[in-house]
Symmetry: C2
Subunit: 344 residues, 2 copies
């Protein structure tokens, strides 16, 4: 572990994360884990790149020094950002899986019990097929979620850092609300949000802002596509600000004209729901109880509004295409997951 | 197939794409294909969303009507954007694979030969495991690349549309070059590029611009992180503009001060390489011959510059986290793929 003082967090934070992971590796009777999820790699090492459509992995042995497999172009990120001392890059004309297997051999792990994140988006099936047929003397075991167990509750320094993401989020949202007016295009509003959140210290978020207007506000996950905002319409804005890959997000509806009665009642319902969540939410509750609370308030309306999704999700480190940690924790029915301190 | 005139391309373009796909389905002796790659789904139907970390698929039977499986929230995108008439959405508390298998049953495909994109990032292993154990009477066969065969050569209307992406790219780059000056932060340059490309009609690209300065220009795929640009440094800008998910990209280096001798020689080398590519590149050449041409010119320098990556890649429809179609076509050694008309 290289000692350095220019990482996102103090060295102690990364040591704690790595030690906790190693305890889980030991509990599962593994000798090493191959971590391929970009957010998990960043959590452990501070490594980041947009280039994770090329295979990359951090291998953490139970005791020996961790090492990284990356595309040659990305090795610079290991050197510039992380405490990782050992890298085994592969060229664009080379083979990532061969490099991974060679490195496992080099570091005495080829005949050991190796955990891998089977459900990781960026360890696609062809690569998994190849490693299963190549690593003949080792045992490959699924350890999906082993890093997420550490990520799900944020430490004090993480929550402090997330305030910088929130600062960018709020700056973007304020500029977006300001830019919404009759005759403006959705693009102009998207431009204003982007400009403001990046000037406020924000970095490119895992998902760019959502800006829709009029009938387009009913399209799920749509954003600006050139439409001109009209009188008496409403616009939908959702902004996720990012700082060092940590995210926070907020949504707002902007009314262009007078607020109608049904919109007013919808607003009051949402304010009531948010107030209730703020006052009742606490560690120890299950995600389904929280979802129930929100769902009951929102469903109790006579304006035809429905909540067709989960009512919330965890948020933290994220890389495109998604800013949420919903696969770790979502507020929804049918789950007994318990809220704990440090969850965000 | 619903007839509508508000799609990105005229109906005939989608009919051609679907007919060509069905010819390939027949050639492979399949009865249907499950298309899960977001760019492939968009290519065939004009469907788009950022929400593809939830499973979604377009099922194209050889003869009968195609249908879509989406998260309930995303069904609005099928209705608002596509010619697809049949949707089978699943709720956030439901199971995507169960919905897929149920729909295959409903449409008489559960005991047929079904192609699926085994290597698709967004058909992760757990889902593949479940469908393999659930669809007991059908035969699942890999058809990865079956849609890409159609995408790799762009039609005249696609190339025309890509000019709008290029317009946004150029507007962003011009604003970025303009914003680079001693004392500016990388963030301010990123903000200027974003603002300009979105106002020029650009939509959120698959990858946000790269802006680095000074020593950070040596970090692969890094972008703004607050650094202040210094006198006599250079800044690296790479901008990918997007319109209706089609992308074009460009790179520029900005010198803050006087251009040194080695930078001048590097510039002349790159100009020479680009001129040669423009004059020599033509259909019929292999990707390795083109790569060789570029690589030889760039390698012939005495300033220590190296090309450590492939020398180029295909570009077109893209969703985060990558704007390139490099897995379909890259300019690199060791491949005999032939360049054809319409490739971009």
């Amino acid at each position: 572990m290289i000692k350095r003082d220019d990482m996102t967090f103090p060295a102690g934070e990364y040591e704690r994360r790595l030690n906790d992971l190693r305890m889980r590796i030991a509990e599962r009777h593994l000798d090493a884990v191959v971590i391929s999820d970009p957010a998990n790699i960043m959590y452990l090492t501070d490594y980041q790149t947009t280039g994770y459509s090329f295979f990359q992995a951090l291998v953490v042995p139970l005791e020996k020094e961790p090492f990284m497999i990356t595309r040659a172009l990305e090795e610079s990120n290991v050197i510039a950002r992380t405490w990782v001392d050992l890298t085994r890059p592969y060229p664009d004309t080379g083979d990532a899986m061969q490099m991974l297997v060679d490195a496992l051999r080099e570091f005495g792990l080829a005949n050991k019990r190796i955990g891998y994140e089977r459900n990781s988006y960026f360890f696609p099936a062809y690569h998994q097929d190849v490693i299963h047929t190549t690593l003949k003397h080792g045992k490959l075991l699924d350890c999906f979620g082993i890093v997420e167990e550490g990520r799900i509750c944020k430490s004090a320094v993480e929550i402090e850092l997330m305030k910088k993401a929130a600062f960018a989020t709020e700056a973007g949202m304020a500029a977006g609300i300001d830019a919404c007016r009759v005759g403006a295009t959705e693009n102009e509003v998207g431009a204003a949000i982007s400009d403001a959140m990046f000037r406020a210290g924000g970095e490119p978020p895992a998902v760019m802002p959502y800006v829709t207007s009029g009938p387009r506000t009913m399209i799920g996950h749509a954003t600006w596509e050139g439409r001109v905002m009209q009188d008496n319409e409403h616009a939908f804005l959702e902004v996720g600000g990012c700082y060092r890959r940590y995210h926070t997000a907020m949504m707002r509806t902007v009314i262009l004209g007078e607020m109608g009665d049904s919109m007013y009642r919808a607003q009051q319902t949402m304010k009531h729901a948010l107030r209730e969540v703020h006052s009742i939410l606490q560690p120890g509750m299950t995600v389904s109880d929280v979802d129930n609370l929100v769902r009951n308030i929102i469903s109790d309306n006579d304006i035809g509004a429905r909540l067709i999704t989960r009512s919330g999700y965890s948020i933290g480190i994220a890389f495109p295409p998604s800013w949420d940690e919903g696969y770790m924790l979502s507020l929804k029915q049918g789950q007994s997951t318990i809220l704990r301190e440090g969850m965000t």
